[in-house]
């Protein structure tokens, strides 16, 4: 194999590796962004759950009180 062919092959390999590394870097950036979005979504769910709890506790207490009052009114 002549030196020119080896040089051409090496150049081609270097070009392909460079392209792959660029693609990999772009994908890594995209993955980092996706993970950040995923983390934000997870925090959103946890926040929503934390906000929901006092609402449910209040609804339950109000309903129990209303039924108790209804029952007392019947007696």
């Amino acid at each position: 194999m002549s030196t020119a062919v080896i040089a051409a092959l090496l150049s081609l390999a270097a070009g392909i590796v460079s392209l792959l590394l660029k693609t990999l870097a772009a994908r890594t950036d995209a993955h980092a962004q996706t993970l950040a979005e995923g983390k934000a979504a997870l925090e959103k769910v946890n926040t929503a759950l934390a906000e929901l709890t006092p609402i449910l506790v209040k609804n339950d207490a109000d309903t129990d009180a209303a039924l108790d009052a209804l029952e007392k009114g019947q007696k």
Binding site: L42, V45, L67
Partner: protein, 138 residues
Amino acid sequence: MWPRIALLLIPLTVLGCLGHLDGARQALTSAELLQAQAVQVIKDSDGPAQQAIIEHAKETGDVAQARKDLQAYRNRRQDVLSAVLEASGVASMLAVLIPLVDAGAKKQPDIDSLLARLLTFTQRISETLSVYVENLPK
């Protein structure tokens, strides 16, 4: 020649592995959307649902039945919230694990087993949420 081929194969293999992780990320996002949806449905419907039970008790005068209906309603509501909490726990673990697999510190099978669990809990959210919505007191 072989070392050069190997040199080309390594990045290709890495890209292939990243392709698998995409599925995990999509599953994670879908599960989080479903959790958020379930929480919102309960938030919007809980007050009116309990109010409907009170109004029905006022009409019929049957407070004992109202308490039974109320307990059944709250059990269905708890089923949804339990499924959301379970899915949230698995989703949190996946969110931590995915970057570790990306970095090569963990292996794909670790994610696959968590994904299977996430799928189970996601299905449970769907099922319990359907039962909850279909049986909302009116």
